[in-house]
């Protein structure tokens, strides 16, 4: 079995504010190596805010530590991120290869395209069965194609923590199943730590090892069955989810 370098990601009293508003309050939880943690909650509950703070994009209070198997903090944990259905300007002139090269290399993509880097990008796309997309404009991809490109990018280099923020909105049922199956294979093969934001409770029940229900604060934490039977779950999703 591959032994991952990260043992767990620890959030202690994690709080995010914007001005006077408290968007995430006093969340403490642990994401373990090889486990998929599903972060659930209603819209506006603070899920995406929590992720943006984890990515270092917005400031937070409290503690966030990445610990190795000896309990020592890791210096530079690698984070892979698949954003929510990308709401970007689809007319930006940029091919899929441009996009992947910009994320992986320092050579500015307008100036040059190193052959070795271009080959690696092609191999990445091939791995996700989207090898033919390299020359297509990023803005012209379908929802499913875009998500595969984004997952390919998030897995290169293989991250210590993979964060997926509603990664499959706008993808059809077959694509959805394929996406989660592929994710599960990767988790087992590489012992990935995964944090997944989703509204799809059937997938949570099937794939999540741990479920965290938040509405600004952490309301419930545990295995899916436990959380789904928690009174807080019913109060959040009353009538909204099965």
């Amino acid at each position: 079995m591959i032994r991952c370098s990260l043992s767990h990601v620890q959030l202690e009293h994690f709080t995010v504010r914007r001005g006077r508003d408290v968007l995430v309050e006093d969340v403490s939880l642990s994401l373990c190596c090889g486990q998929l943690t599903a972060l659930i909650g209603s819209n506006g509950a603070g899920k995406t805010t929590l992720i943006r703070a984890l990515l270092g994009e917005i400031p937070y209070q409290g503690r966030l530590s990445y610990l190795d198997h000896e309990g020592k903090p890791m210096r530079r944990p690698r984070i892979g991120y698949v954003p929510q259905q990308l709401d970007f300007d689809r007319s930006i002139p940029m091919t899929v290869t441009d996009f992947l090269l910009a994320a992986r290399t320092r050579t500015p993509v307008w100036l040059a395209r190193p052959a070795s880097a271009a080959r690696q990008v092609q191999a990445l796309l091939n791995q996700m069965d989207v090898g033919e997309l390299g020359g297509r404009k990023l803005g012209e991809l379908s929802g499913g194609e875009l998500q595969r490109v984004l997952l390919a990018l998030a897995l290169d280099p293989m991250p210590d923590l993979l964060i997926l923020d509603e990664p499959v909105s706008g993808v059809d049922i077959r694509g959805l199943d394929m996406f989660y199956q592929r994710l599960d294979e990767l988790r087992q093969a590489h012992h990935l730590t995964i944090l997944l934001v989703t509204h799809d409770m059937a997938m949570v029940r099937r794939y999540a090892d741990q479920v965290a229900l938040i509405r600004r604060r952490l309301l419930a934490l545990g295995p899916a069955d436990e959380v789904f039977n928690h009174p807080a779950y019913r109060s959040v999703f009353e009538g909204a989810q099965a």
């Binding site: 943006r52 930006i92 940029m94 910009a102 994320a103 993509v109 998030a154 923020d165």
Partner: protein
């Protein structure tokens, strides 16, 4: 400078370039066009057309502060105020309390009004009206030196910052997850835009500067598919319109800045039609 002039004389043995002021103007455009052509690509990607317009307007307040301080050359004040304005707008925008266009509009109007109030004291605004349309024929070798240094700095910036900026324009969180320091990258970019806009305004005018920044990139976007095509086309459109505009402004004895903008407008129209046609043929 004499060496450069000699080279120009050999390359361009035309009557109009016998004059030193025309050679200087030509060199100025060879420096300003790539500056605006490059920065414009990301300004358009990040939907900053209105933001850069506001920056241009704020030049008036920069000039006014310089005048109040009794400075002979107000450039330092313009650049400093432009940077301040850019930083403040982006911070207020990031706080997200009002919509972006409202925030920019408030700052833009205030900065312009303040400048006009100070400069029009005692009915003296006419002295500063040349800033509105600019005068590229008045550029000196020292000004050219400053522009050349700026172009070198922006090229370095464009090599270091292009990839993170491109990713940020798609999704800032994604860029952050790839190790880009999104806030710093964005800040460095808007400061570069502020500096370049302020340095160019004297020569191309407050009223025209934004068109020169936005139109080459907007035209390139109509026909480009890759980041490389986008950048190179924007540069090409910017240079072509700058040079043709200078020649036509000399021949017809009109101001260069507006002439360049008219040519850019034509380029935009042509590229727009090409884009529309390719859409129709793809749909069919």
């Amino acid at each position: 400078m004499n060496v450069i002039y000699a080279i120009l004389d050999t390359l361009l043995p035309f009557d109009m370039f016998r004059f030193t002021f025309m050679k200087n103007a030509l060199l100025a455009l060879l420096l300003i066009a790539p500056l605006l052509g490059l920065l414009g690509t990301m300004a358009v990607n990040n939907r900053m057309a209105y933001f850069s317009d506001a920056l241009g307007h704020s030049a008036l307040t920069g000039i006014a502060i310089g005048v109040l301080l009794g400075m002979e050359n107000q450039l330092i004040c313009m650049v400093a105020f432009g940077i301040l304005m850019a930083v403040v707008i982006s911070r207020v925008k990031a706080a997200g309390s009002s919509s972006t266009d409202t925030v920019i509009s408030v700052f833009s109007s205030l900065a312009m009004a303040l400048g006009l109030v100070i400069l029009s004291r005692g009915g003296g605004f006419a002295r500063y009206s040349s800033y509105l349309v600019g005068d590229i024929l008045a550029i000196t070798p020292a000004d050219l030196g400053l522009l050349a240094l700026t172009l070198a700095a922006v090229l370095v910036l464009w090599i270091v910052l292009f990839n993170p900026l491109l990713l940020t324009s798609v999704n800032p969180s994604l860029a952050a997850s790839r190790g880009a320091r999104v806030k710093w990258v964005e800040m460095a970019f808007i400061v570069a835009v502020a500096v370049v806009v302020m340095l160019s305004i004297q020569w191309v005018g407050i009223l025209m500067i934004n068109a020169l920044l936005i139109l080459p990139a907007a035209s390139a976007r109509n026909v480009a598919r890759s980041a490389r095509q986008y950048t190179l086309l924007s540069l090409a459109f910017s240079l072509f319109s700058g040079l043709l505009g200078l020649v036509l402004s000399y021949l017809w004895d009109v101001s260069a800045g507006p002439m360049i903008v008219l040519i850019l407008g034509c380029i935009f129209a042509v590229t727009y039609l090409i884009k529309a046609r390719s859409r129709v043929s793809r749909a069919a």
